[in-house]
């Protein structure tokens, strides 16, 4: 079946097979910041925002996303405050998981302009970084929230 998906503000027409997951469709369209990790919604590497809400694209039916606004980290750009804070704090090693963390942080900051360290930890607790960059990630999200340019 054919599906139109609005991704980062642009409409994409795509042929999908029945039941195809959003993760696979996004990667096929070239949005390779969206990455499979665990495949069961527990690691956060495939996080995207659908109408502003974070979802695991590995568990999301692509057909359910017609008519929604999908955001991936490609749409944020290098001048986005969260992206800049991650770079400034050195909040990455291998980087595989980082787009997922950036999208979770984007959701958090859209709901809570002034999160404290516990709010950040609570919101990001379902994202896994096997390099163990958690302290820098928390610092980056707090820096993005405080709006301090580095």
């Amino acid at each position: 079946m054919n599906l139109t998906l609005n991704i980062n503000g642009t409409a994409h027409s795509v042929d999908i097979v029945e039941g195809e997951l959003l993760l696979d469709v996004l990667r096929r369209l070239g949005f390779t910041s969206v990455r499979e990790g665990c495949g069961v919604g527990a690691c956060g590497s495939c996080t995207v925002l659908v109408d502003g809400h974070s979802v695991s694209s590995c568990l999301t039916l692509s057909s359910r996303c017609a008519g929604t606004e999908i955001q991936t980290s490609e749409g944020l750009g290098k001048d986005n405050p969260v992206v800049r804070a991650f770079v400034a704090e050195g909040a990455l090693q291998c980087g595989y998981c980082i787009p997922g963390f950036v999208m979770m942080a984007t959701e958090l900051l859209s709901e809570n302009l002034h999160p404290d360290e516990k709010d950040v930890a609570d919101h990001l607790e379902g994202n896994i970084c096997r390099c163990g960059t958690y302290p820098e990630i928390v610092k980056a999200v707090l820096a993005a929230a405080s709006g301090i340019p580095k």
Partner: protein, 282 residues
């Protein structure tokens, strides 16, 4: 091959589709179904996607209860001001489900229909005395939550029945409530032991402590203990004694039987401490 996805636009159509195919499965948020499908332990002839049915995604308040549509997300139960204000125990339990992404996707109806003995929300719903509305081609019926969890991974739902709403009483008798979740793997894993509890003060100053346990028996379990006139230590002793009798843990990767019994005891003690802290005048 993925099962074909049917997209009924009315409840009546969904009921008809389910009544015509005994191997069709209801697709709510899909978080559990997708995991089970990937694990290869799910066989379904089709998925009946109920997301297009109007009215299932709403939260209504009436005088003494809040009615939650089955497609309302778990996260909304965590964050909705109405639910937080009037059903703080339920909100606390929904907030502990998995992680924010799963809570954004998973639904209130799907969660309970999943029927797992370790789910976070059912223990709160048991303490609060919720009622489940199930609808099929034959009509609707209301199932008291105490009758909903029948056995290990088995609910009172018949094939073809869709959970359409959960009705949760709003009680002004509750003077304190708490949800405790203890996990032995990661913080957002299933609990290895959980406890929801509330103290109800009824006219005439009777005090009833309602306690439900999760992950500690093949189904979530609930009890009421009359603690009228008891000192806190006496009440705690009476509740713990009852709680221990309710525990029948299943050994698994999260711990053996004795470990879970001990953890269950800790969950109940934590719950009691939280309750007493919230009513310091007694």
């Amino acid at each position: 091959m993925n099962p074909p996805i049917l997209r009924p636009e009315s409840l009546a159509d969904a009921c008809t589709m389910l009544s015509l195919d005994e191997d069709a499965l209801i697709y709510g948020g899909g978080t559990a179904l997708q995991i089970l499908r990937k694990q290869g332990i799910l066989s379904a002839s089709s998925f009946v996607d109920i997301s297009q049915i109007p009215g299932l995604n709403e939260v209504h308040q009436t005088e003494n209860e809040i009615l939650v549509g089955s497609m309302v997300s778990i996260r909304r139960m965590e964050t909705d001001p109405l639910v937080r204000r009037y059903l703080s125990l339920a909100s606390a339990a929904y907030a502990k489900v998995a992680n924010p992404r799963v809570r954004n996707t998973a639904t209130v109806g799907g969660n309970i229909a999943h029927g797992d003995y370790r789910l976070d929300p059912p223990v709160a719903l048991l303490v609060l005395g919720a009622t489940i509305e199930a609808t099929s081609a034959e009509g609707s019926r209301r199932i008291p939550i105490e009758e909903f969890f029948v056995d290990f991974q088995l609910t009172a739902l018949d094939h073809g029945e869709i959970v359409t709403s959960i009705k949760i009483p709003v009680s002004s008798d509750i003077v304190a409530s708490t949800y405790v979740k203890l996990s032995s793997l990661s913080a957002n894993d299933w609990p290895s032991a959980s406890a929801a509890a509330a103290v109800f003060r009824r006219p005439g100053e009777t005090r009833i402590l309602r306690l439900a346990l999760g992950a500690l028996a093949p189904t979530p379990v609930v009890t009421s203990v009359d603690i009228t006139g008891l000192r806190k230590d006496q009440a705690a002793e009476a509740v713990l004694e009852r709680a221990i009798l309710m525990m029948d843990p299943l050994p698994d990767v999260r711990g053996g039987i004795e470990y879970k019994r001990n953890l269950g005891r800790v969950a109940v003690e934590d719950a009691l401490r939280n309750l007493w802290r919230d009513q310091p005048s007694d």
